[in-house]
């Protein structure tokens, strides 16, 4: 039997089909390419560049929601050899903060982001005389949007928005049938350096979807600093994706605390008073049985002795997670408290690390307790941070990102 590696996806034939198709469609006109530095948009832009040459205008929008110094670093990296893309950087940070001001519901935030993003692209397309927009939509983006799990910022036609009448350009998605691992293979085939083709995903709306609930300057600043710490500390390990999120440390006390505690303790085989469960007030996104589930995040706190004794037992914690989610339909995700600071700030930082092939399912990574404590020590030095949690939820019932 022919091996699975030989069957299936062939970068070379995929590339020649797509470049021919792009050339045919655009036929001498100009196209804008929305690029973020992430592997999807970079690969889509490279495919389009090969097809359209000088008629392609790559544009990077600084949303104000990228990581520390990311827009400048990405622009410099893309302009250098071997990528050599002349990228136009559009500064628009303030517009995204204004557009999402006061909005705490995840879908409303994503839709506001999408609207602002495309308005800016519309203006840029007009300035540069582009009639097409190339973007790096991939299979999970539109599958999740179509299925109503969440609004991806780059999916228009699949949800019934006609970009031609709404924004004045036609959208081209050369890699929309591919999964992440196939995109990476295509990137390698196109000569993208390993650190770029293997780069972990950073969502289009950026820190917006990791700023759980309302987006404020304070929260975004705290999150940028925490993100830097988490990325540096987890970089030596081979997790497929790892990042930080921020949420107000405010709890909903309407759920039965005794039953929550008993469920968690019994899954761990501990006396009920050695586990505490607090339910965060602000909902988070999950997916249960192919349905979007905008549910609750449970924070589990173990007594110091049990935590030290247990160290980090992924199987046990997996049981806590699955018992809570199975017993309480309103709970979507479960995180374990790593450390708290007495008199610390009003925000919790949630650390997430997962292993995944195609981002359709994901397992929480077994980050060692020592590494988590290191991260917590550093994060709790930042103004505003009071608690550090580690998310132990697989996808499903969680999603990889929080909103």
């Amino acid at each position: 039997m022919v091996s699975a590696q030989v069957q299936g996806f062939h970068p070379a034939s995929f590339f020649s089909t797509q470049t021919a198709r792009l050339r045919d469609t655009v036929s001498g006109k100009k196209a804008l390419a929305a690029i973020s530095g992430g592997v999807d948009s970079t690969v889509a832009t490279l495919v389009a560049k090969q097809a359209l040459g000088e008629n392609l205008v790559p544009v990077l929008i600084d949303t104000g929601l990228m990581r520390l110094d990311e827009p400048e670093k990405v622009k410099a990296r893309l302009s250098a050899s071997p990528i050599d893309l002349k990228v136009k950087l559009v500064r628009a940070g303030g517009r995204f903060l204004d557009a999402t001001k006061g909005e705490s519901e995840a879908e409303a935030k994503r839709k506001k982001f999408r609207e602002t993003f495309y308005q800016i692209l519309r203006e840029t397309a007009q300035e540069t005389g582009c009639e097409y927009l190339v973007q790096g939509t991939i299979a999970p983006d539109w599958i999740e949007t179509q299925g109503g799990i969440k609004t991806q910022h780059n999916v228009l036609e699949q949800v019934g928005i006609d970009p031609q009448t709404t924004y004045g350009f036609r959208v081209l998605e050369p890699i929309s049938e591919l999964y992440k691992d196939q995109v990476r293979k295509l990137g390698t085939y196109l000569g993208l350096p390993n650190d770029m083709s293997g780069r972990q995903p950073f969502p289009g709306p950026g820190l917006l979807v990791r700023c759980i609930g309302q987006v404020t300057k304070t929260k975004v600043q705290l999150l940028k600093s925490a993100t830097k710490i988490v990325e540096e500390k987890l970089a030596p390990y081979s997790y497929d994706q790892f990042f930080a999120a921020v949420i107000e440390t405010r709890f909903d006390v309407s759920l039965p605390s005794k039953q929550l505690r008993e469920t968690a303790a019994s899954a761990l085989g501990l006396p009920a008073d050695e586990a505490q469960v607090a339910i965060f007030d602000q909902p988070v996104t999950g997916v249960k049985g192919d349905e979007r589930c905008y549910g609750r995040l449970a924070g589990v706190k173990l007594s110091d002795e049990s935590r030290e004794a247990y160290g980090w037992l992924p199987e046990k914690l997996q049981q806590v997670q699955s018992s809570l989610v199975s017993k309480f339909p309103e709970i979507t995700r479960v995180a374990v408290l790593v450390k708290e600071k007495r008199g610390g700030g009003p925000f919790s930082i949630i650390v997430r690390a997962v292993s995944t092939r195609d981002f359709m399912t994901a397992a929480a990574s077994p980050v060692s307790w020592k590494v988590l404590k290191d991260i917590a020590d550093a994060v709790l030095e930042i103004d505003g941070a009071g608690h550090v949690h580690y998310d132990i939820t697989p996808k499903p019932p969680g999603t990889i990102e929080f909103e």
């Binding site: 069957q7 299936g8 599958i143 249960k288 049985g289 997996q318 699955s322 397992a363 697989p394």
Partner: protein
């Protein structure tokens, strides 16, 4: 070339079924549930897989459009059929079984115990880890079917028709985290190529 299309019923992982089959050297793409048996015949389908979806199966008269179409296919199809998640439940109800809200819904990794290594679960005894995502479950298997596997929280993880090449699994063999899932597809293809 062997052709095994996948019926799209709006599930997150429906695409991954096609992808897994393509990786195994099979001609496979997603088809709408409204595809008819004669259309399947015309395209030379040797077998058919139906995926999962967000719908609920309660009785056969109150189904969404795509499940109602899928039920038509289930009743008319002559080629081997594999039903996953919600269509596994639909398969049960279509043959006179029963689906209801699960007492313990399953999301993420669960241990599947194989009681009968028949065809589809060949080589998977005694147990394996599979990923799940379901709020409902089959509470009564239809007569004429044999239960092949269970998990601690769900009694009917897999079943097969006693005489036809018709199979159902509650878990998701198509996601990469179900590391032995590809074996389920290999087993199914063994039947398809027979």
């Amino acid at each position: 070339m062997t052709t095994v299309p996948v019926v799209f019923v709006k599930g997150q992982y429906n695409h991954l079924i096609s992808r897994t089959l393509q990786d195994l050297g099979i001609e496979s793409r997603l088809l709408p549930a409204s595809t008819t048996t004669s259309e399947l015949e015309k395209m030379g389908a040797d077998g058919l897989v139906m995926g999962g979806g967000p719908q609920r199966v309660r009785n056969m008269t109150d189904l969404t459009g795509e499940l109602s179409n899928a039920a038509q296919l289930i009743s008319k199809l002559k080629i081997p059929l594999l039903c996953i998640c919600v269509t596994h439940q639909l398969l049960a109800s279509a043959y006179g079984g029963e689906t209801a809200t699960a007492k313990s819904p399953e999301f993420g990794p669960f241990e599947i115990s194989v009681s009968d290594e028949d065809t589809i679960l060949s080589g998977l005894k005694p147990s394996f880890t599979a990923w799940e995502s379901h709020n409902d479950e089959i509470v009564k298997a239809p007569s004429g079917f044999r239960v092949l596997a269970s998990s601690p929280s769900c009694a009917i993880q897999s079943m097969r028709h006693e005489s036809k090449d018709v199979f159902g699994v509650q878990f998701h063999p198509e996601v990469s985290h179900t590391t032995k899932g590809v074996q389920v597809f290999r087993n199914f293809l063994g039947v398809v190529r027979k």
